[in-house]
Each structure stands twice: as C-alpha cells, then as structure tokens.
C-alpha cells in the first residue's frame, strides 16, 4: 500500500518514527479496515464531484453552442439563450470587484498594520469579521434591500444593488485573505524601510503591500468566484426577471447566470433542463478557471520568506 512506502515516510519528518514501527502492527485487520474507511471518506467527496460533472456534461453538452451566448431567454427552449444573464454576471461581478477590493484591502491594512489589538473596538472588529464570513448569503440580499430603501432607490433590480449585496458578502473573504498575506511579510522588510526614514504609511504602500500582492490576488479571485456563483441574495433583489435587452449600466435591470440556471432548472420541461446544464458547464468552467488562476498565482508568485 502506498501509505507505507518509504517515500511517504521520508516526505514528512514528523512521521518518520511512525513508519519505522514495523509493518506487522500496521497490518492488523482493524487498521486495514480503518485505512479503507479513510479512503472511502475521500472517495465520497471525489465521487460526488465526478458524478456532478458527468451529469451536467451529459445533459448539457449538446446545448452548449453559440445560441447560448447570443440568444435572449425565451419560453421556447430551442430558441432560448443566456446572453443577458452572461452580460449581467459580468456587470454585477465587475461592479462587485470595484466596490469590494479597495475596501477589503484598505480594511485589512488598517487591522494588520495600524490597529492596536488591545483596544476593545479592534477586538470587536476581529470577532465581527469571523462571524460575518459565516452569515448566510441570503441575509446579504435582505441587507442590500434595506440599504437601497434607505437610499430611496425605488427600483430594487439594478446592477448596483446586486453588486452591493455581493460586495458585502465577499468583503470578509478579501479582508481575511489580505490580512494573512500581509502577516506573512517578514518584519525585517518593514523595519528596513522605517529605518531609512519612510513613514509607516509609505512603508505599507511601497514595501509591505507589494510584497503581499500575490496573496491578495489569490484571496480576491476566490472571493469573486464565490460572487459569480452566488444566487440567493440576488433572488431577493428581483434578479429573476425576463430580460429582452442587454444590461448596459449600473442602474440597468439585470439577471445573472446562476439565477438563469435556477429558472431553467425549476421548469418542468426537459429541454430547459438541458439549457440549465449547458449554462452550468459554462459557469463551472469560469469558476474552475478562476480557482485555477488563484492556485497558480499562489504557487508561482508567493515568496517563502
């Protein structure tokens, strides 16, 4: 079994002792069953992923054609496409990025570089961010509705409203990952900069932040890929609409790909399920690309200090 190979043992120093304790003890029926159960546990996750990918590909591959990109939704499945939903997703996620990235990075810089952790307010902020990252997504839709009402905006189904909900949703993700990236920058870099006369803010802007950039990019991309796949908060903002035009501005009506998939899945006819599967393949393709890019940036550019 691969588990007991010398390479496996050598790969991790803390396990060396265990692997030299002799094979016989590791071969008792109980341990063999135990290892098999562990394999099974991993397998459940992977099997689900494979089944899900196969299912959507089998159902939707035939419908993943040009019409999906160029046509508007229609009550006749063969003529329907996801054009406004694709454009809507671009608008909403693009606006989300513009709102969430500067605010998240700025907040993280303050908390990591300038805040005094002994003050109660900053401790409240810490716990608050941890909690926010686990608040159900749909609640952010209700919050965005409240904010729009407060601003006196009558129309709730507008790009900026959706972006507001998603930006608040992914703000904790960006905050937390940016803080981790800043934390990984060694103190000596900051000290060196301060020693030659830079102010703390100059140090942060010219030394610390550039050094942390790969980590910031990774966290940001992961946050945006979450925003791209999220549907629940946008349902509350009336995202499930029948659009026969391209969304073209911050105040434009919108629908997004996940909501279009939800709509098509909820219909009884199998033709619409094909469309839902085709759009799912497209959506997952983008999400996988974004996740892949995030992992690549992390592995390629992140310095080990």
């Amino acid at each position: 079994m691969a588990v007991y190979s010398p390479a496996a043992a050598g790969a991790d120093a803390r396990r060396v002792v265990l692997s030299t304790t002799g094979r016989s003890r590791e071969r008792t029926p109980a341990s063999v069953v135990f290892v098999a159960l562990l394999w099974l546990s991993l397998l459940v996750g992977f099997a689900t992923l494979v089944a899900l990918l196969l299912d959507t590909f089998v159902d939707g591959f035939a419908r993943l054609d040009g019409r999906l990109f160029t046509e508007f939704p229609s009550s006749r499945a063969p003529e329907a496409g996801a054009r406004p939903a694709i454009l809507g997703s671009l608008w909403v996620v693009g606006t989300t990025a513009v709102l969430a990235i500067p605010l998240g990075v700025a907040g993280a810089i303050y908390l990591e570089e300038f805040s005094d952790r002994r003050r109660w307010l900053n401790r409240v902020v810490e716990i608050n961010i941890s909690n926010l990252s686990a608040v159900p997504a749909i609640i952010y839709g209700m919050l965005a509705l409240g904010v729009l009402a407060l601003l006196g905006v009558g129309q709730k189904n507008i790009v900026i409203g959706g972006a507001l909900a998603l930006a608040m949703l992914i703000l904790p993700v960006i905050l937390i990952s940016t803080r981790e990236a800043l934390r990984a920058v060694p103190r000596e870099l900051r000290d060196g900069s301060l020693a030659i006369g830079a102010t703390p803010l100059q140090t942060t802007w010219r030394i610390t932040l550039p050094a942390a950039l790969p980590g910031v990019a990774t966290g940001t991309i992961l946050g945006l890929s979450r925003a791209l796949g999220e549907a629940a908060p946008l349902l509350l903002l009336g995202g499930l609409v029948f659009l026969s035009f391209d969304p073209n501005g911050l105040l434009s009506q919108f629908t997004t790909m996940p909501i279009q998939i939800f709509d098509w899945t909820s219909r009884p006819q199998a033709e619409f399920h094909e469309l839902a599967a085709a759009a799912s393949i497209l959506l997952m393709g983008i999400v996988v690309l974004m996740n892949g890019a995030a992992i690549y940036i992390r592995n390629r550019y992140q310095k080990r200090w």
Partner: protein, 324 residues
C-alpha cells in the same frame, strides 16, 4: 472561505521589536513622524476597517425593523411554537415550526454525510497522506466547495432524486429533503475536512512519537491521540458545517420542496427557512405589508440561529489555536 474563520482567531503579536508595549510598530512610530495628509489616509483606512461593523449593524437594523412590525401583529410565542405556516391563506397562521423542522431535517442529513466523511478525509490527509498526495488532493477537494450552489441544486433534483427513487427504490416525493440534504452534506465535506485537518496538523509531532514509542500503530495514534488532541478544532469544524447547512439556500429551494409542513420523514418535501425566504422573495409582496414583514421575521430567526452557532465555533477555534 470557512476555514478562514479558523485563521482569524488570534495571532501572536510578535512584531514590536522592543519595550513592553504590544502595540504594532506602526502605531507607535506614527505619533512621532507623520507626513501631511497621512492622518487623513489613515482615517480612511480605519473607516474601511470599521465598515465590517457597519455591515453587521446594518444587517441587524434592516432585519429588525420589519420584524418588529411583524411581531406587533403576530405574538412572538405564536410565531415560535405554532405548527401551521400559512401566511398566504385567508385564515393566515404564522407558526414557524414547519420551516424549522424542514431546516433541521436537511441539516441533520447533511451532517450525517459531512461529519464522518469530512473527518475521515481529514485524518487521511493529516495522518496518512504523503505531502505530495496531500497537496494534490486538497485543491481537488476544495473544488467541490467551489461548485456554485445552483448547480448542486440541479444535481440534487435531477440526478440524486431519480437515482434514489428509481435505482434504489426508496419512496420519495419529487421534491424531498433527503436528496437536498445528501447533496448539501457532500458540499460541506471540504469545509469540515479542511478545518479538522488544520486542527490535526496543529497537534505537535511529539505526541505522535510518544504514542508510537508506547507501541501504538498509526490507527491507534490517530484515534486515541491526534483526534482527542484536536477535538475542539474538530467540533468547530462541525459547528461551522451546521452554520453552512442552516444558511444554505439554493439547494433546498430547488430540490427540497416549497410546501411548508411539519416534516416527519426525510422522504417528504418541505420548505426550509431559507427556501421560504427565497420563494417569498420571488412573489410580489408590497413593502410594509404583513406578508413582506414575514420574510424578515424568518430572516431574523435565521440570522440569530447562525449567529449563535458561529460564535460557538469562533470560541472553539480560538481555543485550539491557543492549545499548541
């Protein structure tokens, strides 16, 4: 995402290079040397940090105001203990228990999948897998957590339900909480696995070596030394899994059914709290009407439930961070 909760929980402030103060270096130096305009920039950064508090306050206020209107018309006791949820009927009844039972069933089923398999995967990754296997498997497993939830909903409704009903012969409604819960469980496996694995990796190698020196094999070491030592972290992982299951919306909305009823078996369909909110949002209810406020009463309950669960998890994570 959820593993990041684990990471925020406190760090050793080792930055100040001298003196008894534990304030960050920047904060101290700042007082003596500030360029013009820098205090304004700093204030802006501070404002961005405080925005997260404003979001929480905003959530509470925007849920509370309509919910209070609701509770002016429907007594809190009736809301929390009533077993009929019929806000749209002529003889409207506002007992939230049907929604709560549906949420509870979906969550229990999801945990029945995610807890054993998530912890099993974590034990394998932390105690058995060679480094290279671990660095390959983890991103693939995390991909599962990155699948958009609508796609999981599609999968639950159009693949898992037919599989359970036609191939395995289980009696099921077309919309049922069993499929929704099972798929939700698979979705949560990476969350549980990743936080549990963090906790197990934080257990010092000396404990494993001591155990091996006493003659324990790898299984005995994992089960009797590592898992107990990482226990608070594993519980935190489960608690965060609960929070995700309770708050998950699209899977249960698509595959779990829309009828609000007291759920007695998982083969039944039933609207969860989140599914009710999502479906009610699709309808056109006038702002300020009782029907509209109902949404916020349920939303407030959902927020309160997940808040309690999250705070428990944050405390547990903090504890395992401090242990080693």
């Amino acid at each position: 995402m959820s593993s990041s909760i684990a990471r925020t929980a406190g760090r050793v402030t080792g930055r100040p290079s001298g003196g008894a103060s534990s304030a960050p270096a920047g904060a101290r130096i700042l007082r003596s040397s500030t360029r013009r305009g820098e205090s304004a920039a700093l204030a802006a950064l501070r404002l961005a940090a405080l925005l997260s508090v404003a979001i929480t306050v905003g959530i509470v206020v925007s849920l509370l105001i309509p919910a209070l209107d609701f509770f002016r018309e429907v007594p809190l006791g009736e809301f929390l203990t009533g077993t009929r949820w019929t806000p749209r009927f002529a003889d409207a009844s506002y007992g939230v228990l049907p929604l709560v039972t549906a949420t509870a069933w979906a969550t229990l089923i999801a945990l029945a999948v995610a807890v054993p398999f998530g912890i099993g995967a974590a034990i394998y990754l932390s105690e058995y897998a060679p480094t290279r296997v671990r660095t390959t498997l983890k991103p693939i497993l995390e991909l599962l957590a990155g699948v958009p939830t609508v796609v999981f909903g599609y999968f639950a409704l159009l693949w898992v339900t037919p599989l359970l009903r036609d191939t395995l012969g289980i009696t099921l409604k077309p919309f049922n909480l069993l499929s929704a819960g099972l798929v939700m469980g698979a979705m949560i496996i990476p969350t549980v696995a990743s936080i549990s694995e963090d906790a197990m990796s934080a257990v010092p190698g000396e404990l494993r070596q001591g155990s091996a020196a006493l003659g324990a094999n790898r299984m005995q070491t994992s089960l009797r030394v590592v898992v107990p030592a990482a226990f608070s972290g594993i519980v935190a992982a489960i608690v965060l899994g609960i929070s995700r299951a309770v708050g998950e919306t699209m899977i249960v909305t698509i595959a779990g059914g829309q009828q609000a009823q007291m759920v007695r078996s998982p083969g039944q369909g039933g609207a969860t709290m989140t599914a009710f909110i999502a479906n009610a949002a699709l309808g056109d209810s006038r702002v300020g009407s009782l029907e509209y406020n109902t949404l916020y009463a349920v939303g407030l309950l959902l927020f309160a439930l997940t808040l309690v669960v999250n705070l428990v998890a944050i405390q547990l994570v903090r504890r395992f961070r401090q242990e080693y």
